[in-house]
């Protein structure tokens, strides 16, 4: 954390939502959702299973229409697609593709309609794989990858997207500790370069350590604010994230902030 280089420009608000109502097919999953996100900031989205975290992500991506409220982009909706790494429920690992091909697909949206992916795209993809520690596996077919390697490859694809807003939906769900640490470092790099990030995750100690603000989604509403104001037992229990009889934080990493919150428990 010490000596973290700030981006040369100041924090610009990228996106904010006011009174969002989200859901599928007219049935609201969550309502009264407010948040705002600035460049260089990491916003953590947490909430119990089914609280609408992924639906919120899809609404921001424009995949699922909003049922109410306003989503405002301060500098207009980005012209290039938002960087996105979703849950892998529908991912087909048997598709005939090598690791480097998968990484390269992230850069496709920047190619012109008739433009081929040339040598430069190939070099970029190699550099992205290098960054996520997969340089040696570039030619491996997808079906031979471990869960951790696949997630690294998908982060390389996200690097290739070169986006100003990056949304990661439970990126650490199936990976081991060292992979999580490597990928978290990459996320912090993105933030240092001025990217705005939305991170859906369950690891509260990582949220406390790395995220500047939190959107806690829960029953009957959502809480948004700086991490230390939102991640308090009253909110966590009140919004259904933790049971009232055992409100503990799974703070395995002994961060000072986690200890601070621990006092309230």
């Amino acid at each position: 954390m010490l000596g973290r280089a700030r981006p040369a420009y100041s924090f610009l608000r990228v996106l904010y939502g006011e009174g969002l109502v989200i859901g599928y097919g007219g049935d609201p999953v969550a309502s009264k959702v407010d948040f705002s996100l600035s460049s260089g900031e990491i916003l953590a989205v947490i909430g119990y299973n089914g609280s609408g975290k992924s639906t919120l992500v899809k609404s921001i991506l424009g995949v699922t229409p909003l049922l109410g409220g306003r989503l405002r982009w301060d500098a207009g909706r980005p012209t290039t697609p938002v960087g996105y790494l979703g849950q892998l429920t529908d991912f087909d690992r048997r598709f005939p593709m090598r690791v480097i091909d998968l990484a390269a697909t992230g850069g496709w949206s920047q190619l012109g309609f008739f433009e081929g992916a040339g040598r430069r795209a190939r070099r970029n993809a190699e550099a992205a794989l290098e960054r996520v520690g997969l340089a040696d596996a570039a030619d491996m077919p997808l079906h031979q990858l471990s869960a951790g390697q696949l997630q690294r490859a998908l982060f390389a694809r996200t690097i290739m997207q070169d986006a100003q807003l990056i949304i990661l939906d439970e990126p650490f769900a199936a990976v081991d500790q060292s992979t999580e640490a490597d990928l978290m470092a990459l996320i912090l790099d993105w933030s240092r370069q001025g990217c705005a990030l939305i991170l859906v995750m369950h690891n509260l100690s990582a949220v406390l350590e790395h995220c500047s603000s939190v959107l806690l989604m829960g029953r009957g509403g959502a809480a948004f604010g700086p991490t230390h104001e939102v991640l308090i037992p009253e909110q966590l229990v009140g919004l259904g994230y933790m049971a009232a009889d055992k409100p503990y934080l799974n703070a395995t990493a002994a961060s000072t902030s986690a200890a601070k919150v621990g006092k309230y428990v």
Partner: protein, 281 residues
């Protein structure tokens, strides 16, 4: 040895299977990779009533029969997608029901209509008696297929690998999906006269499946599928030319089946038998 080239019908047949293979290879590969192999089979049956109806109305016209088949095949695809969205049943169940009904209706129509068109040649095709109109249809279908595949290749790949990511990149996924389904039905109909309604889908699926056993990237898979498909077409034609009483359609698919079993046995993604016997551990 090459005396078969002296016959115009053989030259036409050879041209037909090779050109057909050019379009069917990429479509078949994506059909297999998108887990739609059986949907392809269903679509080929679903197109029959359209063709039968067009025949009943307009006679033996390649254009009207193609249009009729396209409309019927796509309607069944669309209806089964809609039913799966609106009701509890999954897409495969509604598709199976609809295509069986369509197939029954088609055969019913063909039989009631009478004997002018031979039901057997319709079901099993006859690549050795292709009209010029059919050749033009096959050529147009392949040209259109290659053009459209080139245009939708990237979204098609993204959708097949990671649908959620593809959705985040473009809101026009439905267009890619629909165009692909049109290509499937178009290629099936182009293959009907040559291979028959029951065999046309075979030249799409079997070579593509066999190719997957050898390679781990899309481009080589499509090229290999084309080689397998054209090779089986050629060999199947020669078999039915050289041997008496060997029908061409089934011969072609059986040769493709042989390629499939060889690939299954020794391909690196198949059983890989040779390597296993060489290095037992």
């Amino acid at each position: 040895m090459f005396e078969f080239l002296e016959f115009a019908f053989m030259r036409k047949a050879i041209a037909a299977v090779i050109i057909l293979s050019l379009g069917m290879a990429p479509v078949g590969c994506f059909l297999v990779l998108r887990r739609l192999s059986l949907a392809g089979e269903a679509m080929s049956h679903a197109a029959i009533p359209g063709i039968a109806l067009a025949y009943a109305v307009a006679g033996l016209s390649v254009l009207s029969m193609t249009l009729g088949g396209l409309i019927a095949g796509l309607s069944v695809a669309l209806a089964s997608t809609l039913l799966s969205r609106l009701t509890l049943l999954r897409e495969d169940a509604s598709m199976a029901t609809l295509y069986l009904l369509a197939l029954a209706g088609g055969i019913f129509l063909l039989s009631v209509r009478g004997t002018a068109v031979n039901l057997e040649s319709f079901l099993f095709g006859n690549v050795l008696s292709l009209s010029d109109g059919t050749l033009v249809l096959i050529g147009s279908s392949t040209t259109l297929t290659l053009l459209v595949i080139a245009l939708i290749l990237r979204p098609l790949v993204l959708q097949s690998v990671d649908p959620a990511f593809a959705q985040s990149q473009s809101q026009r996924g439905w267009l890619t999906r629909s165009l692909f389904m049109v290509l499937v039905v178009l290629n099936l109909i182009a293959g009907f006269r040559a291979l028959g309604t029951l065999m046309a889908v075979g030249l799409m699926i079997v070579p593509a499946t066999a190719a997957r056993y050898w390679v781990n990237a899309l481009t080589p898979m499509i090229l290999l599928a084309f080689a397998f498909s054209a090779g089986s077409g050629l060999l199947g034609l020669l078999l039915s030319f050289w041997l008496d009483n060997v029908p061409s359609g089934p011969a072609i698919i059986l040769v493709a089946g042989l390629v499939f079993f060889v690939s299954l046995a020794i391909g690196q993604n198949g059983l890989n038998l040779i390597r296993r016997f060489r290095a037992p551990d």
